[in-house]
């Protein structure tokens, strides 16, 4: 267990990943997209990607070993013309069988440790006093975001400040949806009758494409959103302008500039 851990931590991850990256980028833009898990822009997506990479690396080692044994057996022991060999009469080998039970078990235990650590890190809710609160509501077929502390509500576009943890509380107005912004982090379902939680953080400014990942009806394929991460000062300015618009508007709810009005 320890040994496996040391082995994995001693691997030169940057080097391994570098080789992978070169291989992949060698293939041009065939491994990039508008919303790729492989290009994280925040600590949540980074943590998830590192878990994906470590497990993939371990799995590749296992794949090579198993396929090596398989290929050897298939090539070495195939019947040839006029083959005088008699097939072995072996029925098993207890030591081997213990070996290939115990070694996978140790690998599984190691993966379990990684899984549980990341699971607790990713689901630990940030301190509400120091993090931005956003309520996310899934509708057929659009996303609505409201900032309870700020009295602002938008649809389609979620504005967040760079470098700050954003605490999302999700629910749905109709059927189950799933909130997914691959570059910022994995999914959490928005479930009618429930409130679910997740946090995100953007470590750089930019806009990040998001989608509904749980099939929610005929418009599911088109249920998109954009997360717009602004430097804190710009974010504050955006909040002010929205609040001003809110105050001057006769409508009870604010509308994101350029966006569609929130259907009531």
């Amino acid at each position: 267990m320890r040994a496996v851990g040391r082995f994995v931590s001693r691997l030169k991850w940057p080097a391994v990943l570098g080789i992978l990256a070169v291989t992949l980028s060698g293939c041009g833009s065939y491994f990039t997209s508008r919303a790729s898990v492989l290009s994280p822009a925040g600590p949540v997506a980074s943590r998830e990607l590192s878990l994906i990479e470590i497990s993939l690396a371990i799995m590749l080692v296992i794949f090579v070993v198993v396929m090596g044994l398989w290929a050897y057996a298939v090539i070495r022991y195939r019947a040839r013309r006029n083959d005088p060999r008699e097939p072995s009469t072996s029925t098993g080998d207890t030591r081997l069988e213990i070996l290939w039970t115990v070694v996978p078990l140790l690998i599984v235990i190691y993966l379990t440790v990684l899984t549980v650590q990341s699971e607790f890190y990713l689901t630990r809710r940030p301190n509400p006093a120091t993090s931005l609160q956003v309520s996310v509501t899934g509708h057929q077929f659009f996303w609505q975001f409201s900032y309870p502390g700020l009295g602002i509500s938008t649809i389609h576009n979620l504005y967040i400040p760079v470098g700050e943890k954003v605490n999302l509380t999700l629910t749905s107005a109709d059927v189950i949806h799933s909130f997914w912004v691959p570059e910022l982090g994995g999914k959490t379902d928005a479930i009618p009758g429930y409130h679910t939680y997740m946090w995100l953080e953007a470590s750089r400014a930019g806009s990040f494409f998001g989608e509904c990942a749980q099939f929610c009806g005929v418009g599911h394929y088109n249920m998109h959103m954009t997360v717009i991460a602004l430097p804190p000062a710009q974010f504050q300015a955006w909040v002010k302008s929205m609040q001003k618009k809110n105050a001057s508007s006769s409508s009870a709810r604010a509308v994101e500039p350029g966006g569609q009005p929130v259907p009531s």
Binding site: S29, M67, E86, T115, I176, Q214, F215
Partner: protein
């Protein structure tokens, strides 16, 4: 069909009925198995065409080959059909044809119940597919989550067809599970102890136990949904105090064991085929049995891994990640045992063996992505993306379907008496390996590039990589489809003019190879005496190459020549029960209470008759053959 009839199950039996009636009333496990295989192959074709339409639609961004509304029906029916109406009944077909032979039995424990299982599956499948012509097919995915399956979001009849079609087929499957548990416990030939059973029989046994425990929650779920949709109940309606996650829990408590119901029989087939063509006994038999039981047990402890993004929190997710990861251990044991069965063997690469060896790398890839998916925080990214689509097809095609095909090339001669053409078989194998990997390997990339599953189309703005890999997958799907044209042509051609197989074309090890091909209606002229694991191999190597009879010899002639063999007679009532329930199902879907009453009356009348009618049995005289 005519060719099949010529070959199968008519030997030694008087033909007093019309051709059609003899099939509608049969209680012979071999004929029931053949009908399972034929019907499931038909549904496999339907599901395959749906898959091709999906791939055409996704071949380029913004495609309008089908509308989003039709697309939703296509992916729902593709998944539902392949799982419930194709792969599972293909296995049940082989189980019916082969397991009674492997344990030296005359038939299954409850032959007429077996016929009822078949007809419920066939008519349930027809009812489900008739939705295409009667107001639209189901459109909420094969796992049909609430509340999108409820009337307010889904007013058409599609979901009712899903509900009632699967209810009918599911009851049939449940009875198959009961039947084979009873058969394997009670009908084994003398000397066939549990730890001498062939591994296909073992995996059938564990599969049957999984069916017995997994299908009732599904049945309950379908009833609750039916009450909600047809009678205004509120089990899933949050406005009236219902709960939408109730469906998900009950569904996956069924749904995860269902995945193992779809893979354990394949494990059994792979074990049989690899041992036979390596000319070795299976490596580590005891650990194979233990691993099968362990996988079966763990199957019931992992269902929340389908719900990692439901926000249950770190304790629940960690627990279910651990149980899921644990399944890798017994599965790994099986992989190593197969490789070491080949090790030191003298491997003959028939088409059946190609499929069995080819199964290993594909299933290992599916297992590897399975382990990666089990790590809950990573699953936050994979969940409901094309990564999952890739994984499940590596397991269901690379695993289950490769097992089905290994079984098809291996047992076709036993079932029909003729060999499948090996040249066409090898074309099928290699084209399928290429087509399958070209289709599904890129889907891993698509998932990581941010493509959610079940999208009717995607925008070119997603990037050229997404468009490129989708096009590659579509090309692969057509290669895969062409490989199956070779298979279907081979089936038809070999059935008509294939080489005669003889009783034991592969120099087999288990008892099915000790009787004629196809097996006579009574399976074995005398109940065999089993003297070891690999029962037939033992007789060929240590005995005189003849089965020992477990029946006392009488002077001059054996008891059977004096008295004949007692077999169950067929009955039309299993078919009529299934027909009545199907009619009632249509009545329920369209709110026609009179039709419900007529259907239920027919069903209950037939159940009553099936219970009170005594089965006089039928005495058949064995004619020559092995074991004499």
């Amino acid at each position: 069909m005519a060719a099949v009839a010529e070959l199968v199950g008519t030997k030694g039996r008087q033909r007093s009925q019309s051709y059609l009636m003899s099939w509608l009333t049969t209680a012979d496990h071999k004929r029931i198995g053949i009908m399972y295989l034929l019907a499931a192959t038909f549904f496999f074709g339907v599901g395959g065409i749906e898959a091709l339409m999906i791939r055409i639609q996704l071949s380029s961004p913004g495609n309008t080959f089908v509308t989003p509304a039709l697309y939703d029906q296509l992916f729902t029916m593709h998944g539902t059909t392949m799982i419930f109406l194709a792969v599972m009944p293909l296995f049940i077909g082989f189980i019916n044809c082969i397991v009674p032979l492997q344990i030296g039995a005359r038939d299954v424990a409850f032959p007429r119940l077996n016929a009822l299982s078949l007809w419920l599956f066939v008519l349930g499948g027809i009812l489900l597919n008739s939705s295409w012509f009667l107001g639209g097919a189901p459109n909420a995915g094969w796992f049909n989550y609430a509340p999108i399956s409820l009337t307010p979001f889904n007013p058409g009849p599609g979901i009712d067809f899903y509900d009632i079609g699967l209810q009918l087929a599911g009851i049939g499957t449940l009875m198959t599970g009961v039947n084979f548990i009873a058969t394997i416990i009670n009908n084994r030939a003398p000397g066939m102890s549990l730890m001498r059973m062939p591994l296909f029989t073992w995996t059938t046994f564990v599969t049957s136990v999984l069916i017995l425990f997994a299908f009732p929650p599904f049945t309950v779920n379908l009833f609750l949904l039916m009450f909600d949709r047809l009678m205004g109940a509120n089990f899933f309606n949050i406005l009236k105090g219902g709960n939408v996650l109730l469906w998900q829990h009950l569904f996956w408590i069924f749904g995860h064991p269902e995945v193992y119901i779809l893979i354990l029989p394949a494990f059994g087939i792979i074990s049989e085929v690899i041992a036979t063509f390596s000319r070795k006994t299976i490596f580590g038999y005891d650990s194979m049995v233990l691993a099968t039981i362990a996988i079966g047990f763990l199957a019931f402890t992992v269902w929340v891994h389908h719900m990692f993004v439901d926000g249950f929190g770190p304790y629940v997710n960690s627990l279910f990640a651990i149980t899921t990861l644990a399944i890798a251990v017994p599965t790994g044991v099986k992989i190593f045992n197969w490789i070491f069965t080949m090790w030191g063997g003298k491997i003959k690469f028939t088409t059946a063996m190609l499929f069995a060896t080819g199964f290993i790398p594909l299933f290992v890839i599916g297992g590897i992505s399975g382990v990666m998916l089990a790590m809950a925080p990573a699953d936050f990214q994979y969940n409901d993306s094309y990564f999952v689509v890739a994984h499940l097809h590596y397991v269901l095609i690379g695993g289950s379907l490769m097992g089905v095909l290994a079984g098809a090339y291996y047992w076709f001669p036993k079932i029909t008496g003729r060999l499948l053409n090996e040249t066409l078989g090898k074309w099928h194998f290699w084209l399928m390996m290429i087509g399958f990997n070209v289709t599904f390997f890129p889907m891993h990339f698509l998932g990581l590039l941010g493509m959610p599953r079940r999208v009717a189309t995607y925008s070119a703005a997603m990037g050229q990589a997404v468009a490129f890999w989708n096009l590659v997958a579509t090309i692969g799907a057509f290669i895969l489809a062409i490989s199956f044209l070779f298979f279907f042509y081979n089936l038809i051609k070999s059935l008509k003019s294939g080489e005669r197989a003889g009783p034991d074309p592969w120099d087999g090890r288990a008892l099915e190879w000790a009787t004629e091909s196809p097996a006579p209606v009574y399976n074995f002229a005398k109940t065999p005496l089993v003297r070891g694991r690999d029962a037939w191999w033992v007789e060929k190597t240590e005995g005189d190459g003849q089965l020992r009879s477990a029946e006392p010899e009488q002077d001059g002639e054996s008891a059977h020549h004096a008295h004949g063999i007692h077999l169950p007679t067929g009955s039309i009532f299993p078919f009529l029960i299934a027909l009545g329930l199907t009619i009632a199902g249509y009545g329920a879907i369209f709110g026609l209470l009179l039709l419900v009453a007529i259907g239920l009356a027919l069903a209950f009348f037939s159940i009553h008759r099936m219970i009170v009618d005594e089965d006089p049995g039928e005495i058949v005289q064995p004619v020559g053959g092995a074991g004499e």
